[in-house]
């Protein structure tokens, strides 16, 4: 650094680069930090769990240690009838979502209500817990917050799972892991745009819809329809099942890959799935040698396909 100019230049570089980092990192971070979570944001993070990408508890993205979403209409503690409720079941050992681990990210009022009324700080992930989303009227504003139903109502995870029928049990947390691992978001965005997507793909998300979610998997390259509200457009599980097994069954011009490998070896009845047989029959159907395509096997309860379908139909 023989020249004095280079000393000055280095300092100017530090100043210029530092200022740009201040404006593009510190200022937005402080701004986003003050956003309170919305009702949608609470449901999202409670159904997805702590993290849907690579994590210690699920390093190979198999959907391990993820919460289950159940719709219940009777109280798991005493069996009495209650109004229909969505409960998020975290069995023992399942890490809690970020809003419960660090309630500060919920924003001021939801944090206060979740801690005082919802008793979320009493939850212990080594014992498991059940969470529900409640609303409270705070001086004219409706504020949604998290309630730890294990502490407030004595709902334990096993009883809550048993209180819901098979149709009302959705493996959404595992399904989002499949969505990330299988790269669905390379083509299907999860971000209706603020300018022209209202009519076709529904309302764009709001500022507080994502607090605590990781990764958001917005996607950037929309080669296929946006899925943020797909469950409201099409909630047929049978359609989803056929579409995942071979998209050309329901949409002849689709360019989506087949996800039949997510079915695993056995179907829901425990029968071994004959993929080669299915494909040769399907090829006959394509060649106009059969009138109807072969039946798509129903995925087993613990299959990856089931979880992915649960995740997609739950995107309301």
């Amino acid at each position: 650094m023989a020249f004095r100019e280079y000393t000055i230049g280095s300092r100017m570089f530090g100043l210029a680069f530092g200022t740009s980092m201040f404006i593009t990192l510190y200022m937005p971070a402080m701004d986003i930090r003050n956003v309170s979570v919305t009702d949608v944001g609470l449901h999202r993070q409670l159904s997805f769990g702590r993290i849907s990408g690579f994590s210690y508890e699920d390093p190979f993205l198999q959907g391990k240690a993820k919460p289950t979403t159940v719709f219940i209409s009777k109280d798991p503690a005493n069996g009495s009838a209650i109004e229909a409720t969505t409960a998020y079941v975290y069995p023992a050992g399942t890490p809690f979502p970020n809003g419960i681990r660090h309630p500060v990210i919920l924003g001021e009022k939801p944090q206060q209500l979740s801690v005082t009324t919802g008793k979320i700080e009493m939850a212990d992930d080594t014992k498991g817990a059940v969470f529900v989303v409640r609303t409270s009227d705070q001086g004219g504003d409706t504020i949604s917050y998290i309630e730890n139903a294990t502490a407030t109502r004595g709902w334990n995870p096993e009883a809550t799972i048993n209180a819901a029928s098979e149709d009302n049990t959705l493996y959404v947390g595992k399904g989002k892991v499949m969505f990330v691992r299988e790269g669905c978001w390379w083509c299907h965005t999860l971000l209706p745009e603020q300018t022209q997507d209202w009519q076709y793909f529904g309302a764009p998300p709001m500022l507080g819809d994502f607090n605590g979610e990781s990764p958001t998997a917005f996607g950037s390259d929309r080669k296929a329809p946006d899925l943020t509200h797909v469950g409201s457009r099409n909630s047929s599980r049978e359609w989803m099942m056929m579409h995942f097994f071979n998209p050309r069954l329901v949409q002849p011009y689709s360019i989506m890959p087949r996800y039949d490998y997510l079915w695993g070896e056995k179907d829901v009845d425990g029968k071994t799935i004959d993929y080669d047989g299915w494909r040769s029959e399907y090829n006959k159907y394509v060649a106009n040698e059969r009138i109807y395509p072969p039946e798509v096997p129903v995925p087993a309860r613990d299959s990856e396909a089931r979880a992915l379908i649960d995740f997609v139909v739950n995107l309301k």
Partner: protein, 468 residues
């Protein structure tokens, strides 16, 4: 390579690290474009290879992107830095041994990272898909040793001043370390929600703006004066380019999320700064094209200049698109469409690849002291790249405009897919041409190393006539 990893630094022939990086980069370019061609075939013909998890589009797409960015582009940069930085300082590379180890860890780390991605072990964040342990290897095993070598070579130079190229090299290696560390902080510290989404694009923008664009430009600041013999047109415009990259290119990250619910001030700020990217762009292009004055016939006759100036010329549409497509007036139409895919390939496969290819062509000849084996094969490579890329770019731009029209007129989505089909085939053909051209390139460089005419001491490769 293994022989040199445990040799004394003085016993390693100067330029070895750069040669290893050069050939590694060509190999990764073949891998990356081969994967690109395979993926494009799947978009054109969805049942091309089907029902196998490891060969499905969702598992291969990110491997293509990161093989090209971290393998081809960044390794070609490392190669360029390892021979241009010492040449401009009239000295040797600070440590050949560090360079050799750097190349080894880079190849190994990248293989591990890409295989994990291939198996679906991902962070789920575009461009920073690699999981955080691999990110740490990239920062501390790949970019930090590279930076140390570049900074120490600049520090131990035997010239008084520092030439423009070396400002860029020194600053970009520093900035890319910051960008990787901060950009992956959501994974290190479990930041969530919009902060995570914003930092994903902060990373993706800055790795292009503070690493790929300035280093590619810096290469042309070396190649054009060196090969034409003309001095750089203006060092003062070079200053303008450098400082405006640091100030303007580091700020518009939020313009990638114009339709997301980010704070409005941030989007407006990013959009204005995004237009100001035209300042470094115009400074760069005008400076280089004016340096060519009186030597334009070399654009036709000399293969290194042909690659470099093509890259510089492709910076014009690149920055015209880049500056304006992110404004609210245009972004609402083309956001998330194939237009953006075309633009990304214009940046990486057009502008920057042509500059890096020139650096690798010129560097390998200089370091091996061998004249290029075949001019005809080099020209074939050039035209395969240019025609293949143009086919890709034009077809994806048209596909993007169709998608844009489809979304504002609320056409059923499947009709857009049907309308795009011919362009998907064209994109596959273009990508495959690039891949085949690169295979020829590797052959040509291998033959150069084995059978190229020896360059006498004191002469430069482009001063010798071709024998084939």
């Amino acid at each position: 390579m293994f022989k040199y990893m445990f040799a004394k630094n003085e016993d390693i022939p100067p330029g070895s690290a750069a040669i290893f990086f050069g050939f590694s980069s060509i190999l990764w370019f073949i891998v990356g474009t081969g994967l690109g061609s395979f993926n494009a075939a799947k978009l054109a013909f969805p049942d091309f290879v089907t029902g196998i998890e490891m060969l499905s589009f969702g598992h291969m797409r990110q491997v293509h992107v990161l093989a090209v960015i971290m393998g081809w582009i960044s390794m070609a940069f490392a190669m360029a830095m390892m021979y241009i930085t010492p040449a401009l300082g009239n000295t040797k590379l600070w440590s050949e041994k560090l360079g050799i180890w750097n190349c080894f860890i880079w190849n190994l780390g990248l293989c591990v990272g890409l295989i994990l991605l291939w198996f679906g072990v991902t962070s789920g964040r575009e461009y920073s898909d690699m999981i955080w342990p691999v990110d740490l290897v990239i920062v501390f095993g790949i970019f930090l040793p590279l930076g140390i070598n570049v900074w120490m070579t600049i520090k131990t130079r035997r010239t008084q001043g520092i030439y423009t190229t070396n400002w860029f090299f020194g600053a970009a290696t520093f900035m890319v370390i910051i960008v990787f560390t901060v950009g992956n902080s959501p994974e290190f510290f479990q930041l969530t929600g919009l902060t995570e989404a914003y930092l994903t694009w902060w990373f993706a923008h800055n790795v292009l703006g503070l690493w790929i664009t300035p280093v590619a430009a810096a290469i042309s600041y070396y190649i054009v004066p060196k090969v034409t013999g003309n001095p750089l047109y203006s060092h003062r415009i070079g200053h303008l380019h450098f400082w405006s990259v640091v100030v303007f290119y580091s700020t518009p990250a939020a313009h990638h999320l114009m339709s997301a619910p980010l704070p409005e001030w941030l989007k407006s700020f990013a959009s204005v700064e995004g237009v100001l990217i035209l300042v470094p762009a115009i400074a760069f292009v005008s400076n280089l094209l004016l340096t060519m004055s009186g030597k334009w016939k070399m654009f036709v006759e000399n293969v290194e200049i042909k690659f470099t100036i093509t890259g510089v010329l492709l910076a014009i549409p690149l920055n015209m698109q880049g500056g304006f497509q992110q404004t609210r007036a245009i972004n609402w139409y083309i956001h998330g469409t194939g237009w953006i895919v075309a633009h990304a390939h214009l940046a990486l496969l057009g502008f920057s690849t042509f500059l890096e290819a020139a650096a690798v062509y010129y560097g390998l000849q200089t370091l091996l002291r061998r004249k290029l084996y075949s001019l005809a094969l080099a020209n074939f490579h050039f035209w395969m790249l240019l025609i293949g890329f143009s086919t890709y770019w034009i077809s994806m731009t048209i596909a993007g405009l169709i998608q844009g029209a489809g979304k504002i007129y609320e056409v059923p989505y499947i009709d857009v897919v049907i309308a795009e089909h011919p362009y998907m085939i064209a994109r596959w053909v273009g990508g495959t041409m690039v891949f085949l051209g690169n295979c020829v390139w590797l052959f040509n460089m291998w033959k150069t190393m084995r059978q190229g005419t020896l360059i006498p001491a004191g002469r430069l490769p482009h001063e010798l006539a071709y024998e084939r």
